[in-house]
Symmetry: C3
């Protein structure tokens, strides 16, 4: 299904191989050796394709699907048509992710430094690094094994990139240490001078920003997002955090592990987010706040106080999400009532 | 008026020529042969300049203006001073646009590939393509006649760019097919991996994003905006849509024709906007929603439900715009009343 | 304290030298000749370090600190431990900024044009300009003494950059005149075509954008921010203004001196901000408005009317900040009360 111009497909895999890859169980004895050639949505899949069903709402599609195999939750097993081979698991989306990654592995560019790239003599590059056309690697930068620096990216002096990390095209990195398996999408800017200055009617006076950015292992940062370096302490992006496009992270911010920041959200200076905090799209967190582990912030919401672990908030300023929706319906009723008199 | 360092002016044109260019009518017999040398605002125009009056509020400026000619609506004809030649039309701004484009045509760079650009041997370039300094064109990319790739832009493998399209400086394109007459401003990133992963306490697991981005003919995308490729289906930007700076478009989003997305707006994954939907600045649309043709969303508003064709909404969450302003004035009265007691 | 890989330290300085640098007074006779080797926060400083205390809330840290010297307000002098040398001043943060800048002066790259840069023959470069790898300088561009163009930046034809300004990596500049001592962080796009077109059901028709961007002296613009050129008049960024990351500035906007625009804020076309206006993060200003000198706009707020000088507003649409917080607490009480009945 995927356009072969852009995506190279591996496989085929037998159902048994896919069970092993995904950790799911083959549900029927028949068909273990059945070759599967691709992944595809239920509505478009054919007899050689594997689909998945993660959301109970789409269970109706299951019965109509021509998919040769499907990954699903045990409780939905009975809804599958007779012809379909099944892989069952408590977490179908995760199992599907593993299978799709097997069919469409991340392409690995040839190792080597393109002859148009500008790499400082003092930079240290492991043997199998790839540096793309017109990329720039500064003095004393360190690129570990398997790192990939795409076209036009600029790696500042002394920056370190961990094993297997990818620096997207036209990214700009300075004053930072990047972990292993990190993925920076195009246009990301990391290590910029934070927004720190002494304000004054005579003019604003810059305060040197003397910290770094530490990006821990497995982090993903979306296109054109920006992460400022610390003012003195470091800015830290915790391991496995997922950051979407056009996100802003101010100086001294500390994210724990596995945080999820959706597109266009922003975090002001010195805020601290514990593990697995989620910020929905276009939301913001004011400076110096503390958000407990697993806190969740709704879209376009603005957090102006500390949050307890697991607390869910919405609104600007943000309040507990249940209160927020109660408020919304309360206002809705007020305006409807008022409307009766007004118009 | 325009700084000649940055803008090369064509002309002069006679009033009659400008009538033909713009589709407006010369209102007085006299002056058809009058040469016009430039366009200029009413307040600054001289006897050789043409101005336009689109907004009735500025009609007072008309009488004081020294402009030699003016494009305006027939209903305002009587307000013009005696000395002024007139071009009348039902749509003065559109007529003015055509005239200004005649005076200031888009500069066309010399065709050719700059010797610092890196163009893969397997890329297909039409004869009159322009590729700027340090631009990169990947394996098997296709650049149709008259396309312009500006300095530092990175065109990924197999990407196709249609006739006459412009890829701005330092743009990054991958996994996409770009139509004819498309204009991408600097720093645009298209085709990035969408924000798709299976969340989990053990860590988030990436789901391969196997779709593309289809940018239809005549689309404009502003500086540093980002468009993710589809997860399986494609992300589609409908013909003639206008997208401002710093806009985010998630995976699988489908825009119809002529949509207008103002700066810093964002659309979450799988939302579908029909033709001529307008999103004002900093507004957002949640995932999987459907916005009917011509729907309009106010600035900073957040759409959390489907919208009917032509529906106008504002607020976060967004409600019909009339209700929104009624709510705003209701709250205003409440707080004013409360204030009397409070302070 | 600062990582020596990324920050080169000057000094040591005697307390007397630091008094002169900062304009603060040595508070005790003893220790004028004491050498100070670094700056550091109160909690981490040792006997050779200088700290500062700007916020009265942190006065408790003063007594416990091992810092050899501290910059503080005269009123806090008595709270300092005996061992600590003191520099007193009415504006400790500003004095600290000067001292930190002395210890960590901005690094000055070697002058010269990197051999991979592409500089047009007609460009005028002062003798001590630095142009980084793969940067592009267009026809007739003018780079004054001491300017620095970082890697991958693209300077369009005829653009002028004033003395000592820095154009960050992968910035894209066109149709603009940049003053002295300006600092553009990576990925900034200036001079893009503004979002100007005649809308219509037959398709939107571009209106030529014939103005420029004027960036006055001492302006700072954060990573990936965008500034559109004027439609006819110029877009102007007043001297000393501080603009954070991912900020959008529309065509014809005029900022006075010393404005502060925090990350992800945006200003629609033709708005005018007088001197020292502050926009907090993710706030927005609608088109054609006038904000008086010193007006302040809260985070995520949306300004939809003119503001008086010094007026402070919050909310969307924005109202006076006192009313906004009164409204917030009023709604809070309503929802709490309602909640008693509901749950």
């Amino acid at each position: 299904m995927a356009d072969p111009r852009f995506f190279a497909r591996a496989g085929p895999f037998t159902l048994e191989e896919l069970a092993e890859i995904s950790g799911a169980q083959v549900a029927k004895d028949a068909g273990r050796e059945r070759p599967i050639t691709d992944v595809s949505p239920l509505s478009e899949a054919g007899p050689d394709d594997l689909s998945f069903l993660d959301n109970r709402r789409y269970a109706a599609e299951l019965g109509k699907s021509k998919a040769g195999a499907c990954v699903l939750h045990p409780s939905l097993r009975s809804r599958a048509p007779e012809h379909m081979a099944l892989l069952v698991t408590e977490d179908p989306y995760r199992a599907y992710a593993r299978i799709a990654r097997a069919f469409y592995p991340e392409p690995v560019p040839e190792a080597g430094v393109h002859n148009s790239a500008v790499v400082a003599q003092s930079a240290e590059l492991a043997g199998d690094v790839s540096v793309g056309p017109n990329a720039v690697v500064g003095e004393g930068a360190v690129l570990a094994a398997g790192t990939r620096v795409e076209a036009g990216a600029v790696i500042g002096p002394k920056v370190e990139i961990g094993e297997g990390s990818v620096v997207g095209a036209n990214c700009v990195l300075s004053h930072c240490l990047i972990g292993k398996g990190v993925r920076l999408h195009p246009g990301v800017c990391i290590g910029n001078r934070g927004f720190g200055f002494a304000m004054g009617a005579k003019g604003h006076l810059d305060v040197p920003q003397l910290g770094r950015v530490i990006v821990e292992d497995g982090v993903e940062i979306g296109a054109n997002s920006t992460v400022d370096r610390g003012a003195g302490p470091d800015t830290v992006i915790g391991a496995g955090s997922k950051i979407d496009n056009l996100v802003q992270i101010g100086h001294n911010v500390r994210l724990g592990r596995g945080c999820v920041l959706v597109a266009q959200s922003g975090i002001a200076g010195s805020a601290r987010l514990e593990d697995f905090v989620v910020l929905a799209g276009q939301s913001g967190v004011a400076g110096h706040l503390h958000l407990g582990a697993g806190a969740q912030v709704g879209a376009q919401s603005g957090v102006m106080r500390n949050l307890e672990p697991g607390e869910k908030v919405a609104g600007s300023p943000a309040i507990p999400v249940k209160k927020f929706f109660r408020l919304v319906s309360l206002l809705q009723r007020m305006v409807d009532k008022k409307g009766n008199g007004d118009e």
